[in-house]
């Protein structure tokens, strides 16, 4: 026995949400050959197939690329601060990939490990994530290598499985998801399943065990010398969360904003003195990969990667977590033989 919803009813449901003033985001065609998670204006904007992975991730609905932390007004020698507008709107992300949904509980750690980031947390509370299990993958997908898979439920409130005949099986994972779908589904005999995900690309257990002692390994240079030093990997990554804090305004006032930043930019760690601890591109790549597979898991238990493949997919030199770790595993295993 299962709960199902027809594609048509699902679209009507999206339409109902939009009509009720709920902000709904989902995969949407934003240009020829370009699918992005974006706010939907109409139910038909939502794509529920025909792509492997949108070019961005759902993190931007929780941790936007640009966000005002507060406003300041300059009045002579005095300053007046004003909190940002309330974050009170209910939101739904529909059609998330399991690798995107899984990023959210991983990011919860860093935004809460000591000081709690209220901006991120508020959006987490307000947003329901409806995930669409994957039936296809490409060369860049590697969710199975980091312990996830095409129907991993982590981070999702509801899971949708495509069924024949324009139907979806609906599995509510959390109470929040249950409330969202209550009364919207019908009972059926059909159950959804997904084909196997991508073959494993690397041995996570081995890498986790080894990587911490490989800071000086030559593989970083060998495997990453071609890095172009842009932020495409970090900005399309569901788990990269580094940011900058900047002032934007004029002589009368403005905002202090949190903007995405990326560890591949040389300026990222440049000291005021001119000294730069990470002075070459391979050092910066090492930081990115070690942050994901050593620093973060040592602190929080989870690897900072969901295997979505966006880093490699959007890299102009085909360099990403997967290609670097494949090279690293090969090199380190050979060295110990």
């Amino acid at each position: 026995m299962s709960e199902v919803i027809s594609a048509r009813a699902l679209r009507e449901l999206i339409g109902g949400w939009l009509k009720a003033g709920i902000r709904v985001a989902g995969p949407r065609r934003v240009a020829t050959d370009q699918v992005a998670y974006a706010w939907l204006d109409r139910p038909e904007d939502c794509l529920l197939g025909g792509y492997i992975h949108p070019h961005n991730s759902i993190k931007e609905f929780f941790f936007p690329r640009h966000e005002s932390l507060y406003e300041y007004r300059i009045e002579g020698k005095k300053i007046a601060l004003k909190n940002p507008e309330p974050l009170a709107d209910e939101r739904i992300v529909i059609g998330a990939r399991p690798c995107d949904a899984a990023a959210m509980p991983i990011l919860d750690h860093v935004f809460n490990w000591d000081f709690k980031d209220p901006f991120y947390n508020r959006r987490r509370e307000q947003t329901t994530v409806v995930t669409l299990a994957c039936r296809e993958h490409d060369h860049e997908c590697f969710c199975t290598s980091v312990g996830l898979g095409p129907d991993a439920e982590r981070g999702s409130d509801v899971m949708l499985y495509e069924l024949d005949g324009d139907m979806y099986e609906v599995r509510c994972v959390t109470d929040k998801g249950g409330n969202l779908m209550a009364g919207r589904t019908e009972t059926s005999q059909l159950t959804g399943s997904v084909p196997p995900g991508p073959a494993k690309k690397f041995d996570l257990a081995y890498l986790r065990e080894t990587i911490g002692s490989k800071f000086e390994s030559p593989v970083w240079t060998e495997a990453t010398l071609r890095c172009m030093a842009c932020g495409a990997c970090a900005y399309t990554c569901p788990t990269c969360h580094c940011f900058d804090i900047v002032d934007e305004g004029n002589a009368r006032g403005g905002i202090r904003a949190k903007n995405w930043d990326a560890c591949q930019f040389p300026m990222f760690t440049l000291h005021a003195s001119g000294h730069n601890p990470r002075n070459t591109q391979p050092q910066r790549q090492r930081q990115r990969v070690m942050h994901k597979f050593s620093i973060y898991p040592d602190k929080f238990g989870d690897v900072l990667c969901t295997g979505c493949g966006n880093c490699t997919r959007h890299c102009s030199v085909h360099l990403g977590v997967q290609t670097v770790l494949e090279a690293a595993e090969k090199s380190w295993r050979n060295a110990t033989v």
Binding site: N83, F115, R122, F243, S273
Partner: protein, 297 residues
């Protein structure tokens, strides 16, 4: 030394408003009480909380840092260089280098700045009780040492001999020069000043030479001592072997790392040195701890 106890800043405002208490990125407002020029490109600033109650509730420990901001220009990280015993105000010191510090150069009494903090760990002043203290600084690194010097002088009975070695490129680059003079008059305090060769003036009475060499020649007793060494990486690199030769153990040599930071609260992802977030697990480390870190600072 870890100051990473969990903090609960959550608030329960139902309308989605992020309260002042919750907004960890929102600074306190502080009034500029005094700006002092320390050298051609360094100034020190004294600040008081604009909100009296906030000022009363505030406390910190020497060695911690704050994030200071000038609205319209941005935030910058500085050590709180006043002693934690001083209750009415805090001080910081900056060199004119980037966007924020160039703008800070023009502030005057009565202006309003932003302050977030205190952040990070601190010097283990309690554990240093009963020990001889060796302070070694170079250039703009005097302020983060100064707070500990004043603190030790204010609890003079708790500490043994105090030796201060401070060097800068030129005589004009020595900051807190007047306080160095004052410290030198105190009991059981020795101040060794030095400038790089060529940086001296005709009436210069201090040493001429680099900090590591001057430290070596100073004949400082290392028994029962701890050292706090802060300065440019190159100075630290050459001073450490000198201290080892003097007989100081790695766990008795302290420094404060100055990795670039933005958030100060362990989120923005840039200050780490290998597995360690300098903003939370630092900035104060012993040499013993630093030796375990990859060279990433």
């Amino acid at each position: 030394m870890c100051a990473c106890e969990a903090r609960d800043n959550t608030d329960s405002l139902a309308d989605g408003t992020i309260s002042r208490r919750e907004n960890i990125y929102q600074p306190s407002l502080m009034e500029v009480l005094q700006v002092r020029r320390q050298s051609a490109d360094v100034k020190s600033v004294r600040l008081r909380f604009s909100d009296e109650a906030e000022g009363k509730a505030f406390s910190f420990k020497v060695g911690q840092f704050g994030i200071f901001s000038l609205f319209g220009y941005g935030e910058s990280v500085f050590n709180i260089c006043s002693s934690s015993n001083w209750k009415d105000y805090i001080e910081f010191c900056f060199r004119k280098t980037g966007r924020v510090t160039n703008a800070l150069w023009n502030i005057e009494e009565g202006d309003t700045l932003g302050f977030r903090g205190p952040y990070g760990n601190y010097y283990p002043m309690d554990a240093w009780r009963g020990k001889n203290l060796i302070f070694i600084g170079g250039g703009i690194a005097m302020p983060p040492i100064r707070c500990a010097i004043w603190y030790a002088l204010e609890q003079r009975q708790d500490y043994g001999d105090i030796t201060i070695v401070y060097g800068a490129r030129t005589v004009g680059d020595l900051v807190y020069a007047d306080e160095l003079d004052e410290w030198a008059t105190r009991e059981r305090v020795r101040v060794v000043r030095c400038v790089d060769p060529g940086g001296e003036t005709p009436d210069w009475k201090g040493e001429i030479g680099f900090v590591p060499t001057v430290t070596e020649k100073a004949g400082i007793a290392a028994s029962n001592a701890v050292a706090l060494v802060i300065g440019p990486p190159i100075m630290i690199k050459y001073t450490l072997p000198v201290l080892a030769k003097m007989g100081l153990a790695d766990q008795d040599i302290y420094t404060s790392l100055e990795n670039r930071m933005k958030c100060g609260v362990g989120k923005c992802g840039r200050c780490n040195s290998g597995p360690v977030y300098v903003c939370k697990e630092g900035p104060v480390f012993t040499l013993e701890q630093i030796r375990l870190l990859p060279e990433d600072f």
